[in-house]
Symmetry: C2
Subunit: 442 residues, 2 copies
């Protein structure tokens, strides 16, 4: 390359850059993004899952020079379970995955995901793009296309430039590695400010079982089934229906309990793949020692990833737990929790570090749940703020104000009526959310 600064070095650098830019038109500039203040300090060290290999590349789907496609290969014998958005305007890839999810795992499987374009509400062209991409992956990896699951995330209503993705498949196939899950996590980011990963393990039959998961999600987060894109890998050997049951049950306690902005995506998807390579006996019952142990570990990965999505909520500066107790039933508790978590007035008060508990009272009132003003109690962390229908005698506004300065907040709401409970997680609503979303496409 020669000495830096020489004409030779400069010419070489230009040639290298020209090479990197090939085929990436139309070029859009990547915006520089500040990492969420709620982000974990580092991407975690995820365990290798035998039988799962990953690759990522910058295919120029929408932006130049941004890693935007991930490919996962799952060894023969892998079982795949999935949970999908209930949106009535589901994206083409979701419809395709829903058809394929029950299939047999004998030949292995693959997952291909692009960011930058959601391929949603793209009519016939959407389904065709899914077919081109999944058939391309099938050819490169020697799989039937029925075993290739695809997903797309990004802007809605624009045709997916599937040729840019298929052009990258050769490289992706050659790059597959058990170590590359972190790069895969980066490839699926859109407005995310950090890649999301989590892992857990358990011992079954004296053998270690590993679980590693990645997720993306930041805005349009109020999942109605799964959230955004989540991929979980394990070397457990487990019957597909059992894995599916566990996944559905745990989704209701993790991804379905988070909300950033009350808006539900057209493309939410959660896949869990079990390669079976841990050498354990197959788990065939959810309600068995091995089943419970595995589900516990799976659930912890799911909850960790769900929390990370909230921590990267668009514009978020506060991570908020809303814990409702004493409701007439669990459904009422969830109504109150979600009404509070989705209230723009509650979320802006928290952004302003204002202990405006009156807005929590408002949210309880509008939720539709059974409530009795004079039995309602509201807590900020350990502070009892309101009880018996009014501000608590011991509550001091300055204590509330001091509490609100924290980055992690718990709002406790006790309805004093029954034993229904629900806990959900959300973030605050700030100027940055408006900035991000008032000029997303410009």
């Amino acid at each position: 390359m020669g000495t830096p600064g020489t004409a030779e070095a400069i010419t070489a650098k230009i040639a290298q850059l020209q090479e990197e830019l090939k085929g990436l038109a139309p070029v859009k500039k990547t915006k520089t993004v500040k990492v969420s203040p709620l982000a974990p300090s580092d991407f975690p060290d995820l365990p290798v899952i035998a039988g799962a290999r990953f690759a990522a590349t910058a295919a120029g789907v929408r932006y130049a020079g941004r890693t935007d496609v991930m490919l996962v290969h799952l060894a023969p014998g892998s079982r795949v379970a999935g949970v999908f958005t209930r949106s009535a305007t589901r994206a083409a890839s979701i419809l395709d995955c829903q058809e394929k999810i029950g299939g047999d795992g004998a030949q292995g499987a693959a997952i291909i995901v692009n960011s930058g374009n959601a391929n949603a509400f793209t009519g016939r062209s959407g389904a065709e793009a899914v077919a081109r991409v999944t058939e391309g992956v099938a050819t490169v990896l020697g799989l039937p296309s029925e075993r290739v699951f695809s997903a797309s995330t990004g802007v809605i209503g624009e045709a997916l430039p599937h040729d840019r993705i298929t052009a990258a498949l050769g490289t992706l196939g050659a790059d597959l590695s058990e170590e590359a899950i972190g790069q895969a996590a980066r490839a699926i980011m859109t407005t995310d400010t950090f890649p999301k990963g989590a892992s857990a393990g358990c011992e079954i039959d004296g053998k270690p079982v590993r679980i590693a998961g990645i997720a993306k999600g930041s805005g349009m987060i109020a999942p109605d089934m799964a959230t955004m894109l989540v991929y979980i890998f394990t070397d457990a050997k487990i019957a597909r229906p059992v894995l599916q049951d566990m996944l559905s049950a745990r989704t209701d306690r993790s991804f379905n309990c988070i909300t950033v902005d009350s808006d539900t995506s057209t493309s939410d998807m959660l896949l869990a793949a079990a390669t079976g390579q841990s050498g354990i006996e197959e788990i065939t019952e959810r309600d068995s020692v091995a089943g419970r142990r595995f589900e516990e570990a799976l659930g912890s990965v799911m909850l960790d990833l769900a929390h990370q999505v909230v921590r990267d909520g668009e514009g978020a500066t506060k991570f908020i737990e809303i814990a409702v107790t004493g409701a007439a039933d669990d459904e009422d508790a969830r109504r109150v929790a979600m009404a509070t978590a989705n209230s723009p007035l509650v979320k802006t008060a928290i952004a302003g570090e204002d202990p405006n508990w009156g807005r929590v009272v408002m949210a309880v009132g509008k939720s539709g749940a059974q409530a009795d003003r004079d039995r309602l109690a509201i807590r900020f962390g350990d502070l009892t703020v309101a009880e018996n229908g009014w501000v608590s005698p011991g509550y001091k506004e300055e204590d509330g104000a001091a509490y609100m300065k924290r980055q992690e907040l718990t709002i406790g709401i006790d309805l004093g009526l029954g034993s229904g409970t629900a806990t959900v997680w959300t973030c605050d609503l700030t100027h940055r959310y408006i900035e991000i979303n008032a000029d997303y496409r410009s």
Copy 2:
């Protein structure tokens, strides 16, 4: 007073100001507020309603020097109908009004409203404050307290300084005037940037019947019954149950079809008072020539006021109509309309003048209504943006972008399934909403 600028004039002015400031502590500074760009050019000329007299004053409920209490006296024979929030955490005044609303009008009635403090979630002290204020009004006006309707709007959870209100009742009673409805409209404002008034008339039995209404509302607007505070006065002679039926029916097509931020107040209230002094025969049937004619005029006043509330939505820069057609039924149409109107992503896109119709697709999908991607059509004004499951062949992005620059927008959504329709009105979500609500109490 002497020549302006002389020592005498200055001393007189100081004395006058001191007088005005008496009893107004603790003094909070009124923030200067820019009038909404969507405001009408002027407060309308409202007709005099014989039998309805108004007064307003600055009682210092929360802020000094801000008109914050209005009093209305209704002549004997006036009938009063009302619609109230369905919030489970209703304010004390709402509970009191609900008990009183069915009463007999022979002795007349009064309405007393303060801004600055909502007297909501204030436990026993809330009900006591309502009793003190309504009894005070009853004494000053020579009415039974069962005929005094009160309302409070402002911050939730702080005790109402009812003594400041009762101290002002003598002045208010002395100031009552048929001409002062505009001052009354100003007295009930909180974060409102302009006073809201509307009128309509009709002829019954060859005699003119007049209707005049005032409203307040700007944030915490997603009424679940009535919206914020609305007071409508008419000289029609009409049976109370008939007036009540009309009011309830028309509320579902006006105030219950607007949303600013999806948050429902603890204090929403709509009262309509008919003094009967127009000299017409009593309207005793809703479904009669006179009944239909009057209801039409009443409905137009209600819709006008509802639109004014949206036009003064916190931070609003765009007035948006969401018109849904072709839904399986009206309920589904309303689900889609409200999901779109309350979507933060749709509202921020409009704030950014971004014709991001994909977010409308998302809102349709999440609404829970029956929808078929391939029958869905989306229009911005007269522009067909999307149809048959994808962007319309004739649609050009620059046309959409030009349309979004308007101040008044119509988003048409046709589901292509049935004959269900709904129309709702909302505004955009801007930085100003965050500014207003992140430091409301500071």
